[in-house]
Amino acid sequence: MRPSKVITLALALITGASVVEAGPPRVVSMNLCTDQLVMQIADPDQIISLSAMARDEHSSAMRDEARKYAQNTGSAEQIYLTKPDLILAGLYTEKASVNMLQSLGLQVEIFDPEESFDNIRDNIRRMGDLLGHPDRAARMVADFDQRLADLQSGITTRPRAALYGANGYTSGVQSLSHHILTAAGFDNIAQELGLTWGGRIPLERLIVLNPDVVITGRPFRGHSRGEEILRHPALAPFKMAAHTDARWVCGTPLVLDAIQDLQREHPDKRTQ
């Protein structure tokens, strides 16, 4: 065995041993969605820092909560200096930074974006194991399933709904938005069109499809022509009060709140 390998192995043993001594690992999260899962599962003192996106007004469902923690810019140098036991990243986190942190010998766990409720359950359990709180994660999954079942009870009609975002983009069957929509008791019009991942529906085609409701995204600050389509008069008769918002972005139990809001306009749930 080469000396360098011996040293690496020895270091790994030492750091590994220290984790066992120090209790649950202290973590840095580099991705908006892992940020939110960490906040929901970890003990507060386990969290060294979260990504800057966690405080984002538009995209983060836990922006106020996130203010309690330090934030990182995602640079390997900054994160390395905070000596985390564990680093959590998303599939699309800057590759260069992730590779750098790995080559520095840190444990980086990469989470795939959640595209279904099973993905949510898996990610919660995996996060629980990594953070040293498997029982907490198991309880969370059980609560999630219980509340989901409650929300879905009593739905008999399924109105046809279209998710319609900037530039006429819609989410397909392989997306979290699709599952939120269908769990709330709506059928996704993208399914009729055979859109797997999503795609553009020209305004004219949308109106010909004549959905029962259209759910648009919450506009960003500033102006864009892409979002102007959401205020087009032809869309007005279909539009629903509910918007897709930060809770639709990440697969955490917060999607249940999104489902509940959506159901305020569902014919079977409106009276309750």
């Binding site: 305004l203 010909v208 102006h223 864009s224 022509r225 087009h232 008069p233 032809a234």
Partner: protein, 326 residues
């Protein structure tokens, strides 16, 4: 010559009808027309809220650009002058983008077209000041390049600085222009300024005719050159500014259309201005139909099609006038 007007009017009506009848939703012509009148059902909504504004806007853009192109060319006696090429459209885009991104556009109803107009006004002023009364080709084109480049860079900067993640992707729209998914709101926004601009430019007919004989002759014929110049500047800024604010900068219309029609009107600027207005509308409607046929699901920019048609002609014109450029 006698047949020109009936021809232009018939073709305009045909392209307008085609523009209203062609789209994503394939419906029989009779149903479409009935739906256009009644506005009933999804088809009615499509006809009245999507296709009609698109076609009307196409006419407004075409008339504005054709009219402005012919008038500037007549005034400068230079066939290369065109709102897009000499930077007026680009400057109008900049005005529109800045007012949208700063929120000024939301302050009052006409803030958006007024900002585009103001910015276009400045550009025309700069161009005419640099090109001088005789409109030398070289200075005109160079001034146009400078104004276009500056306006384009500032437009990109304003969109890059926007907190809206989609804004950056829209640099292409503001530089190339498109009529897709515009609504009646956009038509009403641009129409008042377009009308003012058209009337102003149209009133220049006699002055442009006299100017074709040279400045001294025109002055001796009782044409007030300073006044005509001011009317031209305001008229072009009004009409180009207003349409650019809602449809982006569409180039080459004012170049191609007067060039094609000039032989048919006996090179009389006062007639050419009107013929170019109709011709411009036909050209924009036809290009916009092409956009929908070639890439029905995509978002092909109208300006891309216009540049493909216009740029080769521009090269041809430069080749023909290169003797004057030295």
């Amino acid at each position: 010559m006698k047949l020109l007007w009936p021809f232009l009017i018939v073709v305009l009506i045909l392209t307008f009808a085609a523009s209203i009848l062609i789209g994503q939703a394939n419906a029989p012509i009779a149903d479409s027309l009935a739906a256009l009148m009644t506005g009933d059902g999804p088809l009615g909504r499509i006809m009245q809220d999507i296709r009609l504004p698109r076609a009307l806007l196409g006419v407004m853009v075409g008339v504005s650009l054709g009219l402005s192109g012919a008038a500037i060319q007549g005034y400068l006696r230079n066939p290369l002058a065109e709102p897009g090429i000499i930077g007026i459209s680009g400057a109008a885009s900049l005005g529109a983008v800045v007012s949208l991104q700063t929120g000024f556009a939301a302050v009052f109803w006409l803030a958006l077209p007024l900002s585009a107009l103001g910015s276009a006004f400045l550009a025309v002023l700069i161009i005419l000041a640099l090109a001088g009364p005789r409109g030398g080709s070289l200075t005109l084109i160079l001034a146009g390049i400078a104004v276009s480049a500056l306006a384009g860079a500032l437009t990109s900067l304003a969109l890059n600085l926007s907190p809206n993640p989609y804004a950056t992707y829209e640099i292409v729209f503001w530089m190339m222009g498109s009529l897709a998914d515009r609504s009646m709101d956009h038509v009403w926004l641009a129409l008042p300024f377009c009308l003012v601009g058209w009337v102003m430019i149209a009133s220049l007919g006699p002055a442009l005719n006299a100017l074709s004989l040279g400045e001294d002759t025109a002055a001796s014929m009782g044409i007030n050159l300073t006044r005509s110049r001011l009317i031209l500047i305001i008229g072009v800024a009004c009409s180009v500014g207003a349409v650019t604010a809602v449809s982006g900068a569409i180039g080459f219309v004012g170049l191609v259309v007067p060039h094609i029609l000039r032989p048919f009107v006996g090179a009389r600027p006062s007639v050419l201005v009107w013929a170019s207005a109709l011709g411009g509308a036909i050209m924009i409607l036809a290009a916009d139909i092409l956009v929908r046929i070639v890439l029905p699901d995509g978002d092909l920019k109208l300006g891309v099609v216009m540049a493909l048609i216009g740029a080769p002609l521009f090269l041809h014109l430069i080749y023909k006038t290169r003797g004057d450029l030295q």
